[in-house]
Amino acid sequence: MTATTFAAAIRDALAVALELDPAVIVYGLGTTDPKGVFGTTLDLHRKFGEQRVFDMPTSENAMTGIGIGAALGGLRPVLTHQRLDFALLSLDQIVNNAAKWRFMFGGKRGVPITIRMIIGRGWGQGPTHSQSLQAWFAHIPGLKVVMPTSAEDAKGLLLASIFDDDPVIFLEHRWLHNVTGDVPPGDYRTPLGKARLVRSGADVTVVGMSLMTAEALHAVDHLASQQITCDLIDLRTVRPIDWPMIEASVRRTGRLLALDTGYETGGLSAEVVAHVTTACWKHLRAPPRRLAMPDVPEATSPALTEHYHVRAEHIAQVIAEVAGRPAEWASLAKARTHPHDVPGDWFKGPF
């Protein structure tokens, strides 16, 4: 075990995969450049060669199809987009080819491609560099969608994704790249489809993913000291969703808060609320709630993002409402020392 950052854990997973299996290739804009996609691919081409680790033209659509073709040819491609937003150009290939190939050819062959997409936020990322559209991918049969929160999961889930025989959309939140954790060395895999119980408690089931789990953790721990205790479930994969864990929790707590880093309307939190309502009707003791991004794009000006994102204090407030108990949450906001538009003091722009 070594304490590493989330970004280093990603790089570690890629290196392990490249080492383990000559079929693995890693590519995407900037993969071999001196920044190495926020450090996540840094210098991998030096070790594994420019044939297997390479940069690409700004051709997101074709390069996705090329990855699909390479996968059909026996490779295990890992494609990275520095922002999810750029991948909108490649949805035809993702949905009409990668997701459906196995089905439409009667199970003859699947497409074991992993597509990393980084979700931006803050520091003026603005409307075209900050979208969190996991709901889109999670709506598509044939895709798996992964959203790790911890450095450990970043590695374990990425290795599981790469060696999974289905196409996986792997969403990394830029604000998590610098979180640290103990990450097991070597070929460490975390199964897809299993959520993680981050905290256990009695009053409310809180379901989150990615950065929302990280924010929720502050809220849940803060409320625990006020005798409101929660099950905090980190989804890890948003397709498939680990319903058994969520249902078991709600059957105990009778209360649900579903979080999402994406837009509220038609988002994943709607799926969680809808599923749980139908499946756990008898056990619900209060209306389930969701807390997600407002239904507007992220603006660029820091003045306009200050009251835009969901943070620990908002989560604490809604948990208390769901629990039907008074609580203090304002101090959570005050405890933050760095400006609201950066993930921490380590971040100094420009992107």
Binding site: I66, I68, G69, A70, G74, K108, G142, D166, P240
Partner: protein, 324 residues
């Protein structure tokens, strides 16, 4: 060209023609309940490509893929069964006419989004190159594919990496009912655009199967020699409606004269004439070949017709490698 190769070319075109005409004839039985895009009139490029390519070469195609599939060696009964929606279909009934596959002969898949398999083919070529194989990938495209952005993106990458890809373009002048004139500037030949993006290009008469064979053979030789991606444009013409079994010269998007001019240049008639004159085939050969092909096709339809439909549960299978 050897007599043997000549006969195989003619036979392959005849085979495609008979298959497609049988589909057309029997479509009104309403047992083939899916869109079908027939290649009647434009059999030459497929036949030629099929005889140039090896089984270990890979191929992808689009919506109009029957001829490509057959020429590459695809399983005829499995194709007909697929169009019939049967369990014995090459895609288990999931894909239908527009989604064919036969990996055993390198036919890696055809899909129905125009341009959608172009990058897939390039990716297959990347996998061949990385694995050090000297096989090539043939990507069948129509004239409309040169309007899709993904073609340029994929071709650029193929050129950049000198991938073993043949873009084989059947220019039949139409996309559905839209003539080239509403889609591409008429004074800019397709070949010129392909050359612009960096492909080595040739073009020729797509109804002259020997010309097709020579052009494709040259391109594939260059590919195996490492010359980088090739583009072959072959001019040809679809006889029937864009989608479906009928003729549609009455509806007004093209003239009867144009159609008749092309039908005069039936690739099968033309080549049969040549081979007769050369003495490579005679009436007896023609009769025997036709009979054998008809028998094969009849058997394939009988197989398809009598095959079981897939069990209802199959509709929900094959979404993931491990069903949840």
């Amino acid at each position: 060209m050897s007599p043997d190769l000549s006969r195989r070319l003619l036979r392959e075109m005849m085979r495609i023609r008979i298959v497609e005409e049988t589909i057309a004839d029997r479509y009104a039985e309403w047992k083939m309940r899916c869109p079908v895009h027939l290649s009647i009139g434009q059999e030459a490029p497929s036949a030629a490509a099929g005889l140039v390519l090896r089984h270990s070469d890979l191929t992808v195609s689009g919506h109009r893929a029957h001829a490509h599939y057959l020429a590459k060696g695809g399983d005829l009964p499995a194709m007909i069964a697929e169009i019939y929606g049967k369990a014995t279909g090459c895609s288990g009934g999931k894909g239908g006419s527009m989604h064919l596959v036969d990996e055993r002969v390198g036919f890696m898949g055809s899909t129905a989004i125009v341009g959608g398999t172009v990058p897939v083919g390039v990716g297959l070529a990347l996998s061949l190159q990385l694995r050090g194989k000297d096989d090539v990938v043939c990507i069948f495209i129509g004239d409309a594919v040169l309007e899709t952005g993904v073609f340029y993106e994929a071709a650029n990458f193929a050129v950049l990496r000198r991938l073993p890809v043949l873009f084989l373009c059947e220019n039949n002048l139409y996309s559905v009912y839209s003539p080239l004139s509403v889609r591409q500037p008429l004074d800019r030949p397709l070949e010129r655009v392909a050359k612009g993006i960096g492909l080595m290009t040739v073009s020729g008469d797509g109804n002259d199967v020997r010309a097709c064979h020579a052009l494709i053979d040259g391109a594939v030789s260059r590919l195996r020699g490492g010359a980088g991606p090739q583009f072959v444009e072959l001019s040809t013409y679809r006889w029937r409606e864009h989608c479906g079994p009928l003729y549609d010269n009455d509806i007004g998007y093209r003239t009867v004269e144009e159609f008749e001019a092309w039908r005069q240049r039936d690739p099968i008639d033309l080549f049969r004439g040549v081979l007769r004159q050369e003495g490579t085939v005679d009436d007896a050969w023609m009769a025997a070949a036709t009979t054998a092909l008809r028998e094969e096709v009849t058997a394939a339809f009988a197989f398809a017709d009598s095959s079981p439909v897939p069990p209802a549960g199959e509709a929900f299978a094959h979404i993931y490698s491990v069903e949840p």
